[in-house]
Amino acid sequence: MNDRKGSEERLLGALADDRPGPEHMADMMSGVRERARAAEMRRRRAGRSAIAAGVAVVAAAVLLVVPMSYDVEVGDRLVVSWPTALAQSEDIDAALDGIDGVVGRKIGYRDGTAHARMVVIGPPVGEVVAAVREVLADHLPDHATADIARSPIIRRVGGNVLAALTQGSFRVAARGMTDDEIELAIIEELGLIGVRGADAEVTDQPDGSKRIDVRMSDSPYDSLTFEVEL
């Protein structure tokens, strides 16, 4: 009975004398230092990620909430001119319509020259110009000369980005513009807010006012409002 009573004491006593070898602590501490270093690096990385996330949140808040005003290049205007006597201008106009990135187009004729004014948004303007050159080469004789003039479309963005993204509206300051310029300006604005292939037509009314007809085959907006300042 006494032997049984002391069994746990003998075992505990044997275990109490158990000592790890001298190299055990060195190996253990080597692992501890390595893990502590790795944990520290993870903590620093997590800290940097948190800072980056915080900066992103602040930047998003600035973009969406804080009013701002800045100029942005949103597209290009191309004016393509060719002599009407040397080509079927309607065919060239139709071919220009099929070029990717051309969101609006008006053609006019003056002094024996056709002028196709195009609004280009999306692809690099160099690609569009190259496509225009191909169209002209296909429809004009070798000795004919054609001009392509390009100017950037620059818009001053006001308000905040959130408003710009959610509003289907725009304003055209048309004071001093010819009717052709007003039409193109409207087509430009429509293209900029995602309405592609629209057409605008300005006609003078007997009472001295102007009537503006806008045709859109496809629009991402349920309703759309715009204002033309004459």
Binding site: R4, K5, S7, E8, R10, L11, L12, G13, A14, L15, A16, D18, R19, P20, H24, M25, M28, M29, G31, V32, R33, R35, A36, A39
Partner: protein
Amino acid sequence: MPDFEYHLQPIYPEAVRFARALAGSDTDGDDVLQDALVRAWRGYPKLRDKDRFRLWLMKIIGNTYRSWVVRRKLKNWLTLEFVRHVPSPVRGSFESRDLLHRALQDLPAAQREALVLFELTGATIAEIGEVQGASIPAVKSRLVRGRERLRGIIEQLDGGGAG
């Protein structure tokens, strides 16, 4: 941090025995000890009274062991390999330390921790009370009950109580 190792060195054997006895094997005990030492390493600069290093470390080892048990159970559940430990009668083929490790695993956690601290690390009852956050009578009770229960388990495992 050489200062950390300076304080660890004299009590290192106690820490090893404590962790191994809690975990039930040398391998698991060394894993628990390394986890605990990583925690202690990080927390060491904040330990104001370096004279309390020994008790502080034992407390960390105890806490780390409890976290380790939870993690191991979760892991076993996730891999569907968890089998509830049922003590099985084992005849005298075990070496004494294996037998004791196995028997300790069948003790309630608080009794095991108190008994191991008392027997294998030389901690006093007051120190155990501090590590466990328990009163001195509670620690004494854990030691007495733990010892009695351990004796019974060892006899059963060793075949001494079978006949």
